[in-house]
């Protein structure tokens, strides 16, 4: 159980995690911290204080050229015209059949220069997809292995980053980014995250990784900042009902079925547009909904069947876990829309037993403002 495959990659902060006593595990081809002290404690630290996440396994592609905007728009379902320079946009790469190659965040330096941040598990597939569809005057550079990404998330984020050296952090809005010099080091500071809390993601060259981590840890001491593993990252995102590739997102689940219609703008042309437009007009046969297990009977888990009250199978759980904030089992499930109304009673399979669950509004949790 403790033997880790030698073929796994490590981030530039690996030694830090080992020194912190992290429980390491394989994730997307990387040996990553799953937790340091415990998932529940780390989860609640992000909800109540502030946490630091090493997310350097994620992928970063840089697009540059006269037609960079056109390439990004061709590949993604959101309307890239809606963001300006220094702004970020959550979006997806749809397939021609409306499924999902990956979800990502687009960072616009200017209409001739972009950064795309993609999931670690999909870096190679995404790069091939972008290159294959690049019929534009634009170069694509994969810098995933050269960059370190540390997320700072939680209500004390502004205090921590001010102490770290970014005096103007409080006025930086979510989904904007800047290139700053902090203590002589070049840092991309982006108002993005995957927790629902106030937060930023900081990107530096690997050469500056330990400087960044150590400086954030030092700045965070007075705010009781703690390192957060991927376990809590998953429970935090699930409470916010944020989609995860391989769960709510896949090439066989459409962007609309995943409940991400708000990212789809039919104005511009993009790969998958025609399919998604037709699907929107025809209506959906399944949709992602949130369910809560009221009794203490454990948590629903990925791939578990969901049943209607009468007993008929109506779909499957895409993500499920114990929710540290709600102290209950929660899950996202891809089910028939007729059963997805708020308040509907369904049953979910938990270890072979049918347990009653209620369809609830998502997100499951609202961060304290």
């Amino acid at each position: 159980m403790s033997a880790i495959n030698n073929n796994l990659k490590r981030t530039a902060l690996y030694e830090k995690h080992v020194a912190l006593g992290a429980r390491l595990g394989a994730f997307a081809g990387f040996e990553m911290p799953l937790w340091y002290t415990g998932i529940k404690e780390e989860h609640l630290a992000v909800r109540e204080k502030v946490g630091l996440f090493d997310l350097s396994h994620m992928g970063e592609f840089f697009l540059k050229g006269r037609q960079a905007f056109d390439l990004v728009q061709h590949l993604t379902c959101n309307d890239v015209r809606r963001i300006g320079d220094g702004q970020c946009q959550y979006t997806l790469f749809p397939t021609p059949e409306g499924g999902v190659v990956d979800d990502l965040i687009v960072y616009q330096f200017n209409p001739e220069e972009y950064m795309l941040v993609v999931n670690a598990s999909n870096i190679e597939k995404d790069l091939a997809w972008v290159v294959k569809n690049n019929t534009f005057d634009c170069t694509v550079t994969d810098r995933s292995d050269e960059l370190t990404l540390v997320a700072v998330q939680g209500p004390k984020t502004n205090d921590l980053l001010k102490s770290f050296g970014i005096k103007t952090i409080a006025s930086q809005k979510a989904f904007t980014f800047r290139r700053l010099k902090v203590s002589g080091h070049q840092v991309i500071v982006a108002g993005t995250g995957y927790t629902g809390e106030r937060g930023f993601e900081l990107i530096v060259d690997n050469a500056d990784a330990t400087w960044l981590w150590d400086s954030l840890v030092a700045a965070g001491t007075e705010f009781e900042a703690q390192p957060i593993g991927l376990g809590a990252r998953d429970t935090l995102r699930l409470e916010m009902a944020y989609s995860l590739y391989g769960h709510e997102l896949s090439d066989s689940i459409s962007v609309l079925e995943a409940g991400l219609d708000w990212t789809v703008r039919f104005g511009p042309e993009f790969i998958g547009r025609d399919y998604l437009l037709k699907q929107k007009e025809q209506g959906l046969e399944r949709i992602v909904a949130g369910l809560v297990v009221q009794e203490k009977r454990g948590a629903p888990r990925h791939a578990a069947p969901v049943y209607a009250n009468g007993g008929r199978e109506i779909g499957t759980v895409t993500s499920g876990s114990f929710s540290p904030s709600l102290d209950k089992g929660i899950g996202l499930a891809l089910i028939s829309p007729e059963f997805a109304e708020i308040g509907s009673q369904v049953a979910v399979d938990i270890r072979g037993k049918r347990v009653s669950a209620t369809i609830v509004e998502i997100p499951f949790y609202s961060p304290k403002k």
Binding site: S2, R23, G38, I39, E41, A299, G329
Partner: protein, 122 residues
């Protein structure tokens, strides 16, 4: 003083003044992480060697607890219903799962003692 016997699948049987308790080892709770739910059998239930007698759920994982010996459940640890974290805090003490009766205590000799379990590759 209590004596512990261990299985390769990280369960223990604790012998304490002629009484026997079954639980998961401290190593097992560390591997599982934060335990959020423990499913326990009914009192009086009987299990054969190799049966699943309990299920322990952590935030990220579900673990079946096997019994390597034939046993009868005398009592279950009712505190775990509201405090499953007891298994993390004190797996081999207050975090026991079942109080059991063994059909044949002689078979305990087939399990690992503390030294053998400590030496086992985990």
């Amino acid at each position: 003083m209590a004596t512990f016997y261990y299985t390769k699948t990280h369960e223990y049987i604790r012998e304490d003044g002629g009484e026997y308790y079954l639980g998961i080892s401290d190593h097992a709770q560390q591997e599982l992480g934060d335990i959020t739910y423990v499913e326990l059998p009914a009192e009086g239930a009987e299990f054969a060697q190799g049966d699943v007698c309990c299920t322990v759920e952590s935030v990220k994982a579900v673990a079946e607890v096997y019994t390597q010996l034939a046993l009868k459940v005398v009592a279950v640890n009712e505190r775990l219903e509201d405090e499953p974290e007891l298994v993390n805090q004190d797996a081999q003490g207050a975090g026991w799962l079942l109080k059991i009766e063994l059909a044949d205590t002689g078979v305990l000799a087939s399990l690992m003692d503390q030294a053998a379990y400590d030496a086992m590759e985990k």
